[in-house]
Symmetry: C2
Subunit: 208 residues, 2 copies
C-alpha cells in the first residue's frame, strides 16, 4: 500500500510518500516540501500548495492520503492557516477518490517513537531509522510528513479512516499480529518499545 | 461589480451574490446555503461545499469573492472546520483568477448595521432593508453571506484585498464620497448612522 502523508502548513507543507507491505517494513518513495512566501496573498499560497499536492497525487499515485489533524495551539493565526491548508488537502483526497486518514500530532509521535510527547528531533531520528535513510529527512516538515504516513501504515487505516464510503479499505495497514524477521534493527527496536509501552498501559507517558 | 460573499461553515455554508453600482445602492442576485451532514466524512463534506462554490462561480460569474476571516472562538473544533471551508473557498478564488476580499465578523457587522457588535438578528434585518427584500434572508448563514458581500462593496476592495496581483481592481467599491438620491430609505438611514458613528469615533461601540 502506498501512503501519502501531508504535514499541512502555509510556509512549509511537507509531503511524504511511503510504501508499506502491510507489516512493519516500510520504505520511502519520495519526500518534498511545498514552500510559499508570507508576502504572497493567502489564496495564491493555497493555490501553490494545491498544485504541489495535485502533482504528487498524479505522479506517485498513492492509495490513501493521511494528514495531521489540526488543533488550536497558542498561535491562532498560524492554526487558521494550517487548517486552511488541511482543508485543501482533504479536498484533494475527496476529488481523487482517495480514502483519508487523520492523525493527531501525539498519535504520530507515539507511532514513530513510542512516546506521544517526543521531541521533534526524536521524530526526525526515528523516521530516518524506520525508513533506513542515510541521514534524517530535512527540513522537519519533510520528516513530519513521512512520520504521518508511517503512522497511518502502523496505526491502521480502519480505526481512523475519515471515510464512510470505502469499506474495501477495511483492515489494510492494521498493526500486524506476527512481527517477523523482515524487520530492520530500528524497526525491531520500535516494536519492542511499543510492546513495552502497551504492557505498561502508557502509550503517552508524561515527560520526566 | 458583482460580488460573491461566502460565510464559511461545514454544516451550513452561505453563498450570497450581490450587484453593486459602486455607490450605496446594491441589489441581490442570488443567495444559497450549501448544507452537509455531520455524519459524512469531512473530506466528502468539503467536496460537496466545493461543488456548490464552483457552481456559483461558474453560473453567476462574480468579479470578486469575499469571505469571512476566521478567528478562533470558544469552539475549537468548529473553528478548524470553518477554516478548512474558508481554505477551499480561497482556493476556488485563486483557481478562477478572482480577487479575494477578507473581512472580520465585526467589520461585516459594522458595515451593515453601523455597530461591530450587532446581534445576528440585526444583521439579518439590515441585510433585508439594504437589499430591499420582502423578508429577511433565512437561514442566518444566507444573510451573513449577503452581509459579507455588502461589506465588501462598501468597505472598498482596495483597502482589504488579499491580492497582490490585481492592481486594476484598485478603487472599485470604495466608499463613495457623494451619496446621492439613489438611496432607499434604509440605505439613507444606514449612511446617516455610519456618519454619526464616524463623527463620534466609535465604529465598534461597547454593548450597553
Amino acid at each position: 500500500m502506498r501512503i501519502m502523508g501531508v504535514d499541512p502548513g502555509m510556509t512549509r507543507c511537507g509531503i511524504g510518500i511511503v510504501e508499506s507491505n502491510g507489516g512493519r517494513r516500510i520504505s520511502m518513495v519520495a519526500v518534498d516540501v511545498a514552500r510559499t512566501k508570507p508576502e504572497m496573498a493567502p489564496h495564491h499560497r493555497l493555490l501553490m500548495i494545491w498544485n504541489a499536492i495535485e502533482h504528487a497525487i498524479k505522479f506517485y499515485k498513492p492509495d490513501v492520503l493521511a494528514v495531521e489533524r489540526v488543533f488550536a495551539q497558542e498561535n491562532v493565526r498560524s492554526v487558521t492557516g494550517t487548517a486552511q491548508v488541511a482543508g485543501i488537502v482533504m479536498l484533494a483526497a475527496a476529488q481523487s477518490g482517495l480514502p483519508l486518514g487523520m492523525h493527531t500530532p501525539s498519535e504520530v509521535k507515539a507511532a514513530v517513537t513510542g512516546n506521544g510527547r517526543a521531541e521533534k528531533a526524536q521524530v526526525q531520528l526515528m523516521v530516518q531509522r524506520i525508513l533506513t535513510l542515510d541521514e534524517p529527512p530535512r527540513p522537519r516538515d519533510a520528516a513530519d510528513a513521512l512520520a504521518i504516513a508511517i503512522c497511518h501504515a502502523w496505526r491502521g487505516g480502519a480505526l481512523h479512516m475519515e471515510d464512510t464510503d470505502r469499506s474495501q479499505h477495511g483492515g489494510a495497514g492494521m498493526l500486524p499480529r506476527a512481527e517477523g524477521e523482515d524487520l530492520t534493527p530500528a524497526q525491531r527496536m520500535w516494536a519492542n518499545a511499543e510492546r513495552l509501552s502497551r504492557r505498561h498501559g502508557a502509550v503517552e507517558p508524561k515527560k520526566p
